[in-house]
Symmetry: C3
Subunit: 302 residues, 3 copies
Amino acid sequence: MASLLRRSAKFTSGLLSSLSVCTRNGRACALPYHQLNHRNSSTTSKIKVDLDSSTGVAVMTFQGPPVNSMSLDFLTEFAISMEKLELDKSCRGVILTSGLPKIFSAGLDITEMYGKGPEHAAVFWRAVQEMWLKLYGSNMVTIAAINGSSPAGGCLMALSCDYRIMADNPRYSIGLNETLLGIVAPFWFMDTMNNTIGNRETEKALQLGLLYSTSDALKAGLVDELVPEEKVLTTATEAMAKWLSIPDHSRQITKSMMRKQTIDKLSSNRETDVNYFVKFITKDSIQKSLGMYLAMLKKRKA
Amino acid sequence: MASLLRRSAKFTSGLLSSLSVCTRNGRACALPYHQLNHRNSSTTSKIKVDLDSSTGVAVMTFQGPPVNSMSLDFLTEFAISMEKLELDKSCRGVILTSGLPKIFSAGLDITEMYGKGPEHAAVFWRAVQEMWLKLYGSNMVTIAAINGSSPAGGCLMALSCDYRIMADNPRYSIGLNETLLGIVAPFWFMDTMNNTIGNRETEKALQLGLLYSTSDALKAGLVDELVPEEKVLTTATEAMAKWLSIPDHSRQITKSMMRKQTIDKLSSNRETDVNYFVKFITKDSIQKSLGMYLAMLKKRKA
Amino acid sequence: MASLLRRSAKFTSGLLSSLSVCTRNGRACALPYHQLNHRNSSTTSKIKVDLDSSTGVAVMTFQGPPVNSMSLDFLTEFAISMEKLELDKSCRGVILTSGLPKIFSAGLDITEMYGKGPEHAAVFWRAVQEMWLKLYGSNMVTIAAINGSSPAGGCLMALSCDYRIMADNPRYSIGLNETLLGIVAPFWFMDTMNNTIGNRETEKALQLGLLYSTSDALKAGLVDELVPEEKVLTTATEAMAKWLSIPDHSRQITKSMMRKQTIDKLSSNRETDVNYFVKFITKDSIQKSLGMYLAMLKKRKA
């Protein structure tokens, strides 16, 4: 797995060089972004990235059926895509959305945490950290166009953006529901939620594993706006224009000042956090909980 | 006073051993919990504890007329009861309520702080700390069924629970009103309120010594629910069932992560806090304020 | 500039001695406060101070046309006035308001930051710090009677008070809009806002440089009350009476406990903050932004 990450890193840096040449020429890239995303393995891309160089806005569409689970592949591709956009001077903002019906992202892929051993758990957890560090710490304006349910890691991703617009569909829900599965949202999930909805609401939400209805999510401040489903992306685009009307350098320094402490708490303790996670997730009792949950999911499908 | 505490501790540990034998046998205790509470002195129990082993829920009823003042006896009994329940594996949640009309608890017993000298003040303050540490740091689900007014220490007790249900009676109020008496809520009262209703509301509430009406308390987030007085306990029982549907270990780790920093701030500085309190409360000007307040209370009664 | 500050300091200390003699006699000062405020230079006073010794309430009226800009003179006079009132035992509360139409204060005087060189920038920034430290850390009750628009530094001043009453005029706005000008609100502006309206609202407000309408300001908690314009001052006076009904010593200790951490963060890092500001504001790009903004303002006037 370590070798996989190294391979990805090497591949990315190659991609990034060619990309940076491409934009240094001042021309828009002819090659669609998502084609660049294909790993040189046989796996299909789980994230489509479309950058409109005229507006400086990229749309990142999650397309990992059936529920945009954050597998190691998904997370690695996400981090690579974010890094490329971050380094691309023609890109100032990114909109995250789903290409699948009814779901934004179902969160961390539980099969990556079940029965895979401590080494895999560590590699996986570093990728989860990397996803959050890249997103929460992004210099770009980040907007979540939440066009489906968004539990656990999906909610974290939304919370890590600058602005959240959700489809006003009564069947959708959003929240950090980890306790329901017998696991625990790590401190940086907790901090991110705390920064968004405050300490009391977070305490209640995390202990109860609350999945908020869209209207409750709006009331609690978990999302900023509810709009009809077909308007989620256009509203996100309009909101992005408003955020991009602010001079980048002032906005970026301000954002960094607001988020630095929260980010430093993880980035200066990544391996401790990995070790804590690995020790927790490999416990027999936790593995048993996850196994039961997976069995329940399979049964539901059948 | 120190000897009293030692005596209590010894008595408790005896109680706890017999109790743990009793529950290890897997049978419900025949002996009602509140009978175990009687100290082997002539004082009557100020807190009745009923544990329903079938549900895992204990109801702790304050019964110290006239107003459930938190005297040294009350606080010691509270801490002992909490510790017993905490160690009793058949108990997963506790509901705090009052057996007296119109009052949940009037807060710290001022006669313990007036004219008793620094040694007594120190013993008393350690008991106040212990009450909070046991309650705010409890592994159990804690719900306040606030069926009466709840000023000062009574409010702190409610704020230290996981969930607060208050009787919707316009004559009841709740708040940390210490400044009105010329005293000051210590930093951990402040932190507990801050964690619940946020910094700005806390700043205003503490400076003005605000006693909130029930509807204002709901609006400010000081309580979670208002229900008709006769439904306070049943609503608390229903809420408890919801909280107990979450796996204990996930909920407990989450709760501890949320509250650890606030708890550590006191538990690593208890003696400094005791010294600060003793120095403050034994000041002539403060003693005079308390004396006037007590005289006013006596006059009101007559 | 350093000599100017020294001169002011000396002048003040003279003033303060005569003043303290005057009040020690237990008589109200015959000499109106604002006459004492005149610097022994030819500049006219920018702040009028009227202390009513019978109520213990001072009204500080900003009268620096056209928009009560916080120039170095304004800030120096403000700090001196605050210090005098703080030391005057007959004064327990101060109301800040504007004597000019439509504007509370337009915030920091940009001409003090444009084209003046690093030495002046440092002196100016120390005066901005001093204004905030004196106001946010005041032992007196401080109430902002916001009878006009209150952008940037004007908003900071309002946020640093204990209570905020704003004129309900749809043409007025309030907010920390620094990013709109291409600059950045420093960390203690951010902390002050965060303490008032919470982390999420602050993050959004600061990144977008939001200027809130009065109703949005009320909703966000940026102000505590909206009243018709002609009632701003009387409402402030009534609110002051309520705050002054609390024993000073309890209120002051409570206020200090709530604000100490935020204040210490700046007061223990003043020179670092000065250096950061000077380095930032003297950048070519920032100077260019400010120049453009000033040109735009001039054009608008013409």
